[in-house]
Symmetry: C2
Amino acid sequence: MSDDPDPGLPSVAPAAWLIRKLKSTAQISARDCADIENLSFTVRTFGGRTSIVHEGDVPKQCCLVMDGWAYRCRSLANGQRQIFAFYVPGDIPDIESLHLHVMDQGLVAIAQTTVAFVAHSDMRALIERNTSLAMALWRDTLIDATRCRERVISLGRRQAVGRMAHLFCEMYIRLRTVGVADDFRYVLPLTQAELADALGLSSVHANRSLQELRKLGFVTLHRRELIIHDWDGLETVAEFDPAYLHIV
Amino acid sequence: MSDDPDPGLPSVAPAAWLIRKLKSTAQISARDCADIENLSFTVRTFGGRTSIVHEGDVPKQCCLVMDGWAYRCRSLANGQRQIFAFYVPGDIPDIESLHLHVMDQGLVAIAQTTVAFVAHSDMRALIERNTSLAMALWRDTLIDATRCRERVISLGRRQAVGRMAHLFCEMYIRLRTVGVADDFRYVLPLTQAELADALGLSSVHANRSLQELRKLGFVTLHRRELIIHDWDGLETVAEFDPAYLHIV
DNA sequence: CGAGGTTTTGACTCCACTCAATAGACGTGG
DNA sequence: CCACGTCTATTGAGTGGAGTCAAAACCTCG
């Protein structure tokens, strides 16, 4: 489940990640920032494809991604998997565990991923004391839900190429917002099989859809780096409109 | 957009619906109930297929379903539609508008539907005064999100018959929980085209999948009444596990 | 009884899946 | 530095689930 303790701490502290993230979607006061900075975090790094929280766990803490990516997923009886969402620095993937005690899905680290844990008790004390921060966190979970709905549209009404393009667009905007991507390129630490599990495709078809996007000249993906050559083209095939991300 | 004012008020008051609903998923104190009962509601009835809130609106109130069903949906450029979720008595479909100001999707009444509106200002005052109620409402939005994720699994990894069976199971449990269904039957006020838009299918294929469920002897659907003849069978083809509904 | 919506059926097409084999990337250890 | 095993990516061939188009049957209600 776990890995080695943190080696060399990343340059940005846990609190700073969370503050940066919340500022991108809501108004955060100086008092809110101070309260976040007073939280005590436990930093840990997970190796590739290790589980941070298992399906069925009853966690006593929630985690803040600082470096790398994580995803939530569930496996079905026939061995198929569905990835619900990806989480990047600044995100708190399992904040809902504050309110829903048993995890109905797992949380997995992709590649090398550093997260900071906060005890539920600390978090609860914080949101009882500071209503405006509680509202900001609530808002954040609602935005997570809008992303989930966007995924529903993708799976329900877009075909493979559009789905993939949409994911590429969303992740670029989100990563850029927290300062982890720029210049239309970013590290996409996923295998094609994982891409397929997120998009509701077979890995063979994920491969072919990716080739289609390459052939169109929209993206290249090589050695885990995605480069977007034609943002407008990508946005068009994806029918991507960033409004649902509610970035201020 | 609207319709006639309420004719004969339903037997259960708006506050009672909300209390019943929240009690089914969280612990609610006597004070919480009193606070809900002190809210002022404006009841209105919408005719079939009329819009309660439009995509792009900036609502100043949120609405509580009292009778009938509503759904949220969005239309795509090519004319296709995706229905994200259905809402039944006790649900507050647009509570997120408290935090996310512009609606990125529409809310539509199916058949005759009665809803009660509460002003955002009243709601905000309430959740600032009563933290435990705020937490219960937050929790409710998180459960809405788990249902959305379950929809993602359906669209991504189940085929048509399983998707439909899953929806039938979920709606039965939800309706029974608030006392609107019993004895393995309920009013399903949807056309097959709407069913298709919710399940990410064409209406022709929705029809064929429904026939398949009939042929298996699991359900009948006639004159908007769904009867489940074989719950276990339905649950099995759906791979349905009600845990995600977080009903206590 | 007729009009308009909804459900059903048939025929054909196509997107995406499965199975299977090959090629490439990467890390490890001899 | 190369051999080897293990992932991961790519390709091909054949299949099948779901879509499209269009017509017919069926309700329902004024």
